[in-house]
Amino acid sequence: MSTPETAVPASAGLHADPHGGHGDISVGVSGAGTSGDGTASATRITPGNALRPEDIALAVSRGAAKPGEDVAELALRLGDDALILAQRLGHWISRAPELEEDVALGNIALDQLGHARSFLSYAGGLDGRSEDDLAYFRSEQEFRSVELFEQPNGDFAVTIARQFVVSYYQFELYRRLAASTDATLAGIAAKAVKEVDYHRDHSTQWVLRLALGTDESRQRMIRAFKVIWPYVDELFRDDELTSRLSAAGAAPQPSSLREDFDRLTGEVLAEAELDVPQVPAARGGGRQGKHSEHLGYLLAEMQVLAREHPGASW
């Protein structure tokens, strides 16, 4: 099997790098749909066309895409958010209430991991670091994720509350970022926004079912939003970086997302007969590398293998 031209995304005219860290994923599945009576099967596999992290890494290594300092910092922030959440969600594999929900949360985790890989591959273009360098060989203070993403999974309701807030925030962010003056950021966001749209739906379905289910599930959902809501504020804080990026048309000001976020989450909460929790906002500081006590433990688990065996591949 060879890499078919049809597997190359039209967006950037990029080719997959067979020597990239994770191999060329287009080989191996490309022939499945064309051999024999492939179209008759309900489980036909096709890779489809989309912008992949490998494409971005290759564009960066060839010099076809290079972020400015500000854009790289933003990509680092968004990549870290997604990476930390993916690590958190991955913990649910084999632990969700039902196997089907294991897979649902696993899918969301993998979507987030894909966004993280794209953003970090791009961010690394500034100084030549790879996505793995950024994910596995930075210390806690060098991570730029906000506190919400590193919050512990808690019970299923807390995970759903966190996912609900994240997906509505990310949807508003990526929707606007898709119109960025930076073509790579726009490309990543355009792909991500469709996936995040489904994450909104998934968490909304669960908020409604838990809140309107039994007394027990309702109490847990109410408690979960109280646990999570203090971290909402930090998502929408502007700073010098976002002001510069906003002025350049590269990214929206976080504060400009708040109105739509409040309106859309408010509609779901109203349908679930829940009040928006009245809780004080957490201090935050993740964008400056100041994290809650949870991140260190998470990173230790996430990074131990790569640090124990530097350069290993599997």
Partner: protein
């Protein structure tokens, strides 16, 4: 359904809601599924008794407090029919559709999904295979190729 291979294996035959091993693990010996296999409702070749089958399936589901089983049909592209892809657990139809999306279309396999409560499907009894399906064998006069074309007939 096995997470390791990611290949759906819980191909529960329609009408037998919970014949698979727990979570469809092909490694699990068949004996471990005995307690649930007993609940499987067989619809006899004669008059169907969907009410009894439904009641039995529901009693089994409620007794163990598990989500009911749904059968999933996926259409792989426009112009083709929906094809049975497998089954899954879900609390209701809306979640069944979403679970089906996550389980059976995550490699770009589909453009449309149907989900059907497993206990809404009546299936033929495998024990009645003889009376149901062997009768047409040998009746080749039911095929057009049995007949020879009459002389002089055009456009046949």
């Amino acid at each position: 359904m096995s997470l390791l291979t990611d290949t759906p294996t819980s191909q529960a035959r329609p009408g037998t809601p919970v014949v698979e091993a727990p979570h469809g693990n092909p490694e699990a010996p068949a004996s471990s599924a005995a307690e649930i296999a007993n609940e499987a409702a067989k619809v006899p070749a004669g008059p169907a008794t969907p009410a009894a089958a439904t009641a039995e399936a529901k009693a089994g589901a409620e007794g163990r407090n598990v989500w009911p089983i749904w059968e999933v049909f996926v259409r792989s592209s426009r112009g083709l029919s929906h094809v049975h892809a497998g089954s899954l657990h879900a609390p209701d139809a809306a979640m069944a559709l979403r679970n089906a999306r996550d389980l059976y279309t995550r490699r770009n396999e589909g453009v449309s999904i149907w989900v059907v409560p497993a206990d809404a499907i009546a299936s033929s009894d495998p024990d009645a295979k003889g009376s149901f399906f062997e009768s047409p064998q040998g009746k080749d006069y039911r095929h057009a190729t049995y007949y020879t074309k009459s002389e002089g007939v055009k456009h046949l």
